[in-house]
Symmetry: C2
Subunit: 239 residues, 2 copies
């Protein structure tokens, strides 16, 4: 199956293995949580259209000539690809970047409450899929404006967290809110500034968001902000 | 055109704007260089199959149902997407990550001489497109093994360079060669360890490789290796 990979075994790379801190309700544990959160993470940051998930996982027809494709290892390659037997196009699929910010105002951080599934009603840092033609920092600022109506000064790259079982890399930038004239965008129910003791840990939408918030609070306490890299593994066998 | 973007104008984000240091022959200048290197960068790190470039830039048929797609802004979206008028699938396209290493042995760094177009015969750090199911560090180690037969210990993330006009993010990790039992892979003509004064600056394949090597040498001279982020803009209008 094309999603299978020699690396998709839960073996960690050299970067930190991050514990599951999805903040999902205690009721949702074990394999159910694995699948639910994995799927949530997969589709989460794009639109609520389920085709988003499908687009990265399967292909039946060639997007160039419209003929059926088959999944096989092309000559000189070492991985299964969707290949068109009519026009010969090899359709590569690659992981996607989800990029966002940790928007800071005085001692508070901005969070958005999701107005779309998955994880409707849960809190997230503003983030979304990087678009064609953008840089990572441009994508981070755009998502922050779209989801929270917030204008920020992008600072340093703060976290890079791989989520390989859903083929994503999540990147969060430290950002300084230029003002607190914020407003929920179409994909948010509400946006709010949270002091540390107010953060709704049990209602955080995604593991990478919870982990990035923990890195942020720890660094702030230490008086030094660095880059944090890690991998979040939650394949089905972890369930 | 779907590749157009409000950000594809050469305006820099908050991260450093990196000068062109592609090291291309003096003969190739101006717009020719712009197009050549842009296209080179686009296809460079995947296979030599030109469909790689096409796959990110255009779509004629729905990969789910095989019907013709049209390019328009879906309801609730703000960007043109390829949309299937038959099954309703929205086909999102996103930038891709090219991930590699700066493989170090004593005072030398490993470079690979490309055996494939584009930039055949030019020198590059081992790098390639991240695959589904991988983490960034796993991809970096895999590419280093595939292209240079080199086993490395992945260290810290060293550079993250956006190349928005070709919809790529290039990430390089510092890496320690575990031995010097290296050998050219299928995509390399030769692999070699270079001391600083031996680096073939005029024959470096891609701007992000030249820039990452300059960051590495500067940091080594300063005795401190940090994360370097930047954007390389070279749209046609820069030509």
């Amino acid at each position: 199956m094309i999603l299978a990979s020699p690396h998709d075994s839960g073996v960690t790379g050299p970067s930190t293995r991050v514990a599951d801190m999805s903040g999902a309700p205690p009721a949702a544990h074990g394999r159910y949580l694995s699948d639910a959160v994995a799927n949530a993470t997969l589709a989460s940051f794009q639109s609520s259209d389920p085709s988003t998930a499908r687009a990265t996982s399967s292909m039946k027809f060639c997007s160039v000539c419209g003929h059926a494709v088959s999944s096989r290892i092309p000559p000189g390659d070492n991985r299964e690809r969707f290949v068109c037997d009519n026009c010969g196009t090899i359709h590569y699929q690659n992981p996607r970047n989800v990029v966002g910010t940790v928007p800071v105002w005085e001692d508070k951080v901005l969070l958005c409450r999701r107005a779309i599934e998955p994880r409707y009603g849960y809190w997230t840092l503003p983030a979304g899929f990087m678009e064609l033609g953008e840089t990572t920092s441009q994508a981070a600022a755009r998502e922050t404006l779209e989801e929270a109506g917030a204008r920020v000064e992008i600072q340093s790259l703060f976290s890079l967290l791989n989520v390989p079982h859903v083929h994503q890399v999540h990147l969060f930038y430290l950002a300084r809110l230029l003002d607190i004239d914020i407003a929920a965008g179409e994909e948010s129910l509400e946006v709010r500034l949270f002091a540390e003791h107010e953060i709704p840990w049990q209602d955080i939408a995604f593991p990478t968001v919870g982990q990035t918030l923990r890195y942020f609070l720890a660094d702030r306490a230490n008086g030094h902000f660095g880059l944090h890299t890690g991998d979040i593994f939650r394949s089905l066998r972890d369930g």
